[in-house]
């Protein structure tokens, strides 16, 4: 028995417009670019809906109807769900239809597609809770398996998942971590006793996600029967093939003219043709197979580029500065208790903002490996820092206002303590009387 566990990640950030120094203190909107650039969030969302979300969900729905064995899982950032509601509600309806079949699992995630786990545990937990609520409100389900932003993973995160009642977690099946072992089994994270980790088979995943339309690739054009053969070759040498990729692979990263939709349409039947092959959701996979060993990841592992670490987000000084600055605001922002300010602060935590500031590619000249709607990483940094400066200004102002309107309090702790004791003593006879009056 070999099962395939497909998982598609759905995400769009709130991109920051070209927010200038001169806007600070005058313009409270950071995400409302209305021009024709790729910073216009509504424009991008509608474009991706047209090209990817709508056609792909339609195909997946068809496939679920045709093949009772077919199943897969999805993860949504809260930021993309908010934008569906705002710009393309029909996409949300299409996803709800998929989930309603009962054969599409939704994974747990951070609401803001953030790296909060590595910067602020309390904020991370709030975002996971917020996400869980949103998923329940929209889809009526409660996620049981966790995936973190950019598939980032460490032993600590796995332990957190176990302590918080999840069944399992997703991670990259990266050779330096696995050694001689195969990603096609279920493992146990180090430091955990109950939960399991599902590892992405990056070779078979990236054949679709990255290489499918590449005419320079040796296996181009990839025929669905060839691909099915590659998967069937793992019979006897694995339990599960975990195919993890961006949902936007279908129609957006790989355009329709590459034949990606026909490939997707034909994939389940090609895989099911081998009698002993089927599909499982992550939860089913975790419950069906025993762990064959321990996975130890002391340092952060992600699914990004050849380094499989966070250097695309926090590799250079401006990235480190920007991300540290945003988390430094946490105490003050939370103190305002102002939901607008907190929401904006969280949107600024989305990992994409830091990715746009990446300069790694200029070292190896691989300009196309990093997509950004900004003309330069420095433009991204300037827009981010300017917007954050404005937010800081508003936060400071709000806290000052609160300070001004607060009723005066007794100054010292001792004075307050004594006053409290006196009040308590003053109430004692009254309390006694009340107690005595009560019928027993």
């Amino acid at each position: 028995m070999l099962t395939v566990c497909p998982y598609f990640h759905v995400h769009q950030p709130h991109r920051i417009k070209r927010y200038s120094i001169f806007d600070i203190g005058h313009d409270n909107e950071y995400f409302n670019a209305s021009d024709d650039t790729d910073l216009n969030n509504g424009k991008i969302l509608r474009k991706v809906a047209e090209k990817s979300y709508l056609p792909t969900t339609a195909i997946l729905y068809e496939l679920l109807n045709q093949h009772p064995e077919f199943r897969f899982s999805l993860s949504f950032s809260g930021t993309v769900l908010d934008q569906f509601e705002l710009y393309a509600p029909e996409v949300l309806v299409a996803f709800q239809k998929l989930v309603a079949t009962g054969r599409v699992e939704i994974l747990a995630d951070t609401y803001y597609h953030s790296l909060a786990f590595f910067y602020s545990r309390p904020e991370f937990e709030r975002q996971v809770a917020h996400h869980q609520k949103k998923i329940f409100d929209l889809f009526g389900v409660k996620p049981k398996v966790f995936r973190n932003t950019e598939l980032s993973y460490t032993n600590d995160l796995a332990v957190w998942c176990e302590e918080n009642g999840y069944l399992g977690i997703m991670a990259e099946g990266w050779d330096p971590v696995l050694g001689w072992r195969s990603p096609n089994y279920v493992y146990q994270p180090k430091g955990c006793s109950r939960i399991k980790v599902l590892l992405k088979n990056y070779k078979l995943s990236d054949d679709i996600a990255f290489r499918f339309g590449n005419q320079g690739w040796g296996s181009w054009p990839l025929d669905v029967s060839t691909y099915a053969k590659w998967i069937h070759a793992h019979h006897g040498d694995g339990h599960t093939i975990n195919l993890f990729m961006d949902f936007e692979t279908f129609g957006e990263h790989q355009w329709e003219d590459t034949g990606i939709f026909d490939f997707l349409r034909a994939l389940p039947s090609a895989l099911l043709q081998h009698g002993d092959t089927s599909f499982k959701t992550p939860t089913e996979t975790i419950l069906s197979y025993p762990s064959v060993g321990e996975i130890d990841v002391p340092h952060i592992l992600t699914w990004a580029d050849t380094d499989r670490d966070l250097t695309a987000w926090t590799g250079n000084d401006i990235q480190k500065d920007a991300i540290a600055s945003i988390y430094r605001m946490e105490d003050e922002v939370m103190k305002t208790k102002n939901s607008d300010l907190i929401e904006i602060w969280r949107r600024l935590q989305t990992s994409d903002h830091f990715y746009y500031m990446c300069t790694k590619w200029s070292n190896d000249g691989d300009v196309h490996a990093y997509f950004s709607p900004y003309e330069s990483p420095y433009d991204a940094y300037i827009a981010f820092m300017n917007a954050m400066s404005d937010l800081q200004l508003r936060v400071t102002e709000m806290l000052r206002e609160e300070e001004v309107f607060k009723p005066p309090k007794p100054k010292g702790l001792w004075v307050r303590f004594v006053a409290w004791i006196m009040r308590l003593l003053g109430r004692l006879p009254f309390i006694k009387r009340r107690l005595g009056a009560q019928p027993s």
């Binding site: 120094i21 250079n316 000084d317 401006i318 200029s362 330069s376 420095y378 300037i382």
Partner: protein
């Protein structure tokens, strides 16, 4: 391989980029085993070990290096008088126009090409194009034109000098191959002169790695008061976009009066710019430093917090590279060739003064970015060697020679 090269000037003369570029390229061609006979229109001092010929000497004069006061000629219109700077910086005018000089140079080139032995002709910029064409006529050897600038850069508009344009257009058509120092310049040659793009090779200029001499900071008193310094260095002409820079300065100063703008250079727009500074009420924030050279210039680079190159049209642009070498980040116009090879600089459209002001303030405000621009920028500048440029040029030489042999 022997190359007969025509240039207009050569270090140690103080010029814009042309002489420096010729020197950088020639040295590396030498080190790669290419023999260069460098022809100059007038006798002058030269640096390095390359062999030189001076066209204003009878051609049969003994080949040697003549030590005379050197002069400098900017890229000007055909009928302007030749304006030169002596080594001590004093300004001298010659009575002949550039066009007359260019024709004289071409005649001498014909004679030189008849007697010298060489495989290929290489001519730098329009003042040498006629010389290159004449040499080709005399010898039948292939001709490479090296385009460091066009008249469209100098005019910064459609209104180019018709004489220069005609010389350029004919030369481009006549040449066997054209080297453009950037894609930016290549596009001008294709679009404005209707030249087949396949004939044009892009070879970006290099910059010599320099050991940085540290100087005591300039304008120390201002800096002690917490003022930040934004530096412009270059000619003050319409091509260089100094007027946009001043308009952006007005916006910057409105935001933060503690920012000082230092302008180093000379040019025919000097008075206009001074009037603009007065009219915008910026006299307190703009300092005209005159033309700073060598150590003085480097000291200013080091003292500044940012260098701005706001050019309306810049075929390459050496100044930001020099600034980064000296440890100062740069903000450059997108209408420049150097923008094609740099990641770790800030870029802006020269006409977008709001964005220029935004970026000037941002780089002064966000220190982490300022530091990273310098650190990473310096690594990037190290990769822009003249050797890389020379190797590309040599490949082109061999390609042309192979083509020529086949045709014969």
């Amino acid at each position: 391989m022997r190359i007969l090269t025509f240039g207009w000037d050569y270090p140690p003369m103080r010029n814009g980029g042309l002489g420096v570029a010729c020197h950088g390229l020639t040295e590396e061609l030498n080190s790669e085993g290419i023999e260069v006979i460098f022809v100059l229109p007038r006798k002058q001092t030269t640096i390095g070990n390359n062999q030189f010929l001076f066209a204003d000497f009878a051609h049969n004069a003994p080949r040697s290096v003549y030590r005379v006061d050197s002069v400098l000629v900017p890229y000007q219109s055909a009928h302007s008088f030749i304006e030169m700077f002596l080594a001590d910086g004093t300004r001298v005018r010659f009575s002949r126009t550039i066009l007359e000089e260019v024709c004289r140079y071409a005649d001498a080139a014909y004679a030189i090409a008849q007697t010298e032995n060489f495989d290929l002709i290489h001519a730098h910029d329009w003042t040498s194009y006629l010389a290159g064409q004449k040499a080709k006529l005399a010898s039948g050897k292939p001709l490479v034109l090296h385009v460091h600038a066009t008249s469209f850069d100098q005019a910064a508009s459609e209104f180019v000098d018709p004489y220069v344009y005609e010389i350029e257009r004919r030369a481009f058509n006549d040449a066997d191959s054209i080297v453009a120092i950037s894609n930016y310049t290549r596009n001008i040659i294709v679009n404005r002169y209707n030249i087949n793009p396949e004939k044009i090779e892009v070879v970006h200029n290099g910059i010599k790695p320099q050991e940085v001499k540290l100087f005591a900071p300039a304008l120390a008193e201002l800096k002690a008061q917490g003022k930040k310094i934004v530096f412009y260095h270059g000619r003050i002409t319409i091509q260089k976009g100094v007027d946009y820079f001043i308009r952006a300065a007005r916006k910057v100063v409105d935001h933060d009066p503690n920012i000082i703008f230092v302008i180093s250079g000379w040019g025919d727009m000097e008075h206009e710019i001074m009037h603009l500074v007065g009219a915008l009420g910026l006299s307190k924030n703009v300092i005209f430093a005159g033309a700073l050279w060598e150590d003085e210039r480097d000291r200013m680079y080091q003292s500044a917090d940012l260098l701005v190159m706001p050019s309306v049209s810049e075929p390459f642009g050496l100044v930001p590279l020099e600034a980064i070498q000296q440890g100062t980040p740069a903000l450059i116009s997108k209408q420049s060739g150097v923008a094609e090879v740099l990641t770790h600089v800030l870029k802006v459209d020269f006409w977008d003064i709001d964005e220029m002001a935004n970026k000037i303030i941002a780089v002064l405000r966000y220190e982490t970015m300022n530091k990273q621009l310098v650190q990473e920028g310096q690594k990037e500048v190290l990769k822009l060697t003249w050797n890389r440029a020379a190797r590309k040029v040599i490949d082109l030489y061999y390609k042309l020679l192979a083509l020529f042999r086949r045709e014969i």
